[in-house]
């Protein structure tokens, strides 16, 4: 609803202030191009969605595995932690040639980039969730003679789930952008390619179509994760939510 309102304001101000279409086209133009140009970009769309989903799944799994690994093996943490941070600071322009040189122009280097983007928030959030288990329950588990594996699966893991979902939500948001960026690494199809081409031939309306597509994918993806969260985490008492009265 608010979005629609925003669109209307945008449309009106486009006309009112005569903002040139190449700078910021009115939504009606974008909408029009979005519909008539469907056949132009639906191939790109599919390819990006596939890439995003695959990349996100790999990235999320990797993030969770890293978090678990770092949590259970304390030595690993000190060694790997700095590398995790470093991994988030390799500029794409440096990484890109190396990845292409090592892995060619296939899907692999693209998946590596999405993974790199996605795993980090998940790993950090899950790790923090795993660390902050209630000490009371931890004492119980230890007194009851639970093995480390049991402590993990019966206590730490369920306790970390909300944090994990917090990380998943952040990553889901990033994953689409990650896929688009990875397509700059030389792809033949994908919203990223579509957008670059549109931008280099100054087709601002198409650029905006691309942006809206990216946004819609992200939003749906986020919503999906939020839905999943609701289904998985059912036990929470609602105590914390009614701050209204």
């Amino acid at each position: 609803m608010v979005l629609i309102l925003l669109f209307i304001i945008w449309e009106i101000s486009s006309h009112l202030f005569a903002i040139p279409a190449w700078l910021m086209p009115p939504p009606s133009d974008i909408f029009h191009e979005g519909i008539t140009g469907w056949s132009n970009y639906n191939g790109h769309l599919l390819s990006t969605i596939q890439l995003t989903l695959l990349g996100f799944m790999i990235g999320a799994s990797f993030g969770v595995i890293v978090a678990i690994g770092l949590h259970t093996i304390a030595v690993l943490r000190e060694i790997v932690y700095p590398f995790m941070i470093l991994s988030q600071n390799i500029p794409i322009i440096v990484l890109a040639p190396l990845l292409v040189i090592w892995f060619g122009f296939g899907t692999l280097p693209k998946l590596i980039i999405i993974t790199l983007v996605c795993f980090f928030p998940i790993a950090i959030a899950t790790l923090d969730g795993l660390k902050q288990t209630s000490s009371e329950l931890m004492h119980y588990m230890k007194m009851a003679g639970a093995s480390n594996k049991q402590i993990f699966w019966k206590l730490e893991w369920p306790h970390a789930l909300p944090s994990l979902f917090s990380g998943l939500k952040i990553s889901a948001t990033y994953s689409v952008m990650g896929a688009v960026i990875s397509e700059w690494l030389g792809a033949k199809k994908g919203i990223g390619v579509y957008m670059t081409l549109a931008s280099s031939s100054f087709r601002t309306d198409r650029v905006f179509v691309a942006i809206f597509i990216i946004m819609i994918i992200s939003l749906s993806f986020f919503a999906l994760i939020a839905l999943l969260e609701k289904r998985v985490i059912r036990w929470q008492s609602k105590g914390g939510e009614h701050t209204d009265g």
Binding site: E136, K142, A144, G145, P158, W235
Partner: protein, 245 residues
Amino acid sequence: MANLSLQSISMSFEGKKILEDIQFVVKDAEFVTILGPSGSGKSTLFHLIGGLYKPEQGHIFLNGEEITGKRGSISYMPQSPSLFPWRTIVENVLLGAEIVGQADKGTALQMIEKAGLLGYEHAYPHQLSGGMKQRAAFIRSLMSPQPLICLDEPFSALDEFTRVEMQKWLMNIWVEHKRSILFVTHNIEEALFLSDRIIVLSNRPATVQKEFHIPFKRPREESLLLTEEFLAWKKEIYNELRVIV
């Protein structure tokens, strides 16, 4: 079979001596109660037996085998219910048994009914009253198969009648399965009614102030509570505790 022996156990927290040279045994199929002022170190003693901490000094043996700092040898009910918020009551009750790999849902449901929690098997802990949580934690410890049960104020949140019910139930299980029980309570009557032996701890730093052998024959009936002998015992222990505080 369970034969616990504590040999000159000492423990400090942050430089404060809590336990000093604690020494006692719990024989096979014996019911021993620990009495002592609040904050004297009863729960800490349990934590040491359960292997959560290592004592500063001293050794703990179970059936001749040293279990100092070793976990999983006892079935334990903590002072606070420590139910897992993401598990339903029946799942919580099964946890202790699960850890040793012997979960039996049928028995659990029976016990839940016996504890007056019928209809709450699939509720989550936050939907229970304080006393109901305590009963769930109590069942959880009964469901663990270890031969030594350590109960830390298991009935403190129960009304007199529910408490007596639970006491009787505990007696039955104890007699039937010949398990050894180490029990903490602040209720002298409860201690007298249940125990073979009562150990009185002094105030900080706690030492074994006195040991009482309770001579009442078993099975004990509720009418015992009104006998002269019982009242005399009660007075004696009361006075012993009064000296401490």
